[in-house]
Symmetry: C2
Subunit: 247 residues, 2 copies
């Protein structure tokens, strides 16, 4: 029978805030499936509590979710020391993605499409925010992730002969653009902020400006697509080409 | 100088709930841009209030948003009487989409890709929920929408010689499937519930089972994509083919 002390309750509750996570180097994982994926992953799980052991009231008290789940784990935030960029591969670079749901969904997309690493600017929402963690649906345990200076990253990629793609409303039609698959040199796709798009500083590093065409071409409906949706369509097209394109 | 009475305050606040919207036939639109799009649309705007007139405290009191915006409108919910299904076109059918963010994002995708109408099952989250309205980013004013019995809809489409597509993890690779563009007969793409997928009843009406392949093919990462993300990739691929495919 597992119990929870008052100091543990205080610690778990502190992990709902970025300050609490930074001070302890820990984050929360909630839900049976997520906890089981955490245990199966390379991350270090410090402790697991279940409502069957500590009671539903205590679980509701320590949970960061509106509807608490039966299981909660406290997991160590990876150091971020290990290198993510290699001399080949397809990567995402997130330029100030602020919405936790978008951030988590983008990790899930990266996982589905086997993206070799996700880089986030310092202005992005914290990946270890409980809402983001939930939205990744476990992808957080599988996708390589690092917070970096995006301009520095881009320079390093370019110096290796790689390419930097970015989506712009004024970019070339993605379906008519040549897309590097990352098999010879690293390829980075930059995803811009939800309302501002790609920042001017990062835009200067983008070598290939692409766009997702509305239908029919030139139609004026919505001004843009949601950031995670644009990521999904772009990454799917890179992967469709790499897989041989088919039809 | 516009003012707001106590009974108006009570009415506006009631629109945060489905019950309040059903009783009054009205919904809330918040944000300068959204209010201006509502005024430009075919929908009937009953009243607009601005915080410059009623004060920020009152606006915070009547707003359904965590961060109130400077403008709020009360708009009539369209009757839903006008026909949406035609003898040609590309449509979406949403089978119990429960998350307001997904629902709004799907409307935004439909707007971008010129979808001819969106049908929702009775189990979908209310389109006029304030969170859904915000997530549509104005698409709610442009996309044709109707709540219907999805099986009845599918039967009607099939009787017209149309096709019903649905995404299943076990479906055929979308990039290797023939996709009807809706120019000869109506084409419906069914989007399943976030955790359960397409219901058995509706699945029986699906004539073409398709899937979005992970990369590399057969890789086991995330078990699925978010519902709005799967919608985006699927619709983009239908429109890419219709536009001529290019590369």
């Amino acid at each position: 029978m597992s119990t929870i002390s008052n100091s543990e309750i205080k610690l778990v509750r502190s992990l709902a805030s970025k300050k609490g996570r930074r001070e302890s180097g820990l984050f929360l994982v909630e839900g049976e499936k997520m906890v089981s994926e955490a245990l199966d992953s390379d991350m270090k799980v410090r402790r697991v509590w279940r409502s069957s052991e500590i009671g539903e009231d205590t679980m509701a008290h320590i949970s960061a979710l509106t509807t608490p789940s039966p299981a909660l784990a406290v997991v160590e935030i990876p150091s971020g020391d290990s290198p993510v960029l290699s001399d080949t591969g397809l990567y995402l670079a997130l330029d100030d993605i602020r919405d936790p749901g978008n951030m988590g969904t983008i990790l899930r997309i990266a996982d589905w499409f086997g993206i070799d690493g996700v880089f986030a600017s310092g202005g992005c929402v914290d990946l270890y925010n409980p809402k983001t963690v939930q939205a990744t649906m476990g992808a957080i345990f599988r996708v390589k992730f690092k917070t970096v200076d995006l301009c520095g990253l881009c320079k390093s990629v370019i110096s290796q002969g790689g390419s930097i793609y970015g989506t712009f409303l004024s970019g070339s039609n993605i379906y008519e653009s040549r897309l590097q698959d990352g098999s010879d040199s690293p390829v980075v796709i930059v995803i811009g902020n939800e309302s501002e798009g790609i920042s001017d500083e990062v835009a200067q590093c983008v070598s290939e400006r692409i766009s997702i065409p509305p239908f029919p071409a030139g139609r004026h409906g919505s001004e843009s697509l949601n950031a995670a949706v644009a990521t999904a369509i772009t990454v799917a097209e890179f992967r469709r080409r790499a897989a041989g394109g088919a039809i």
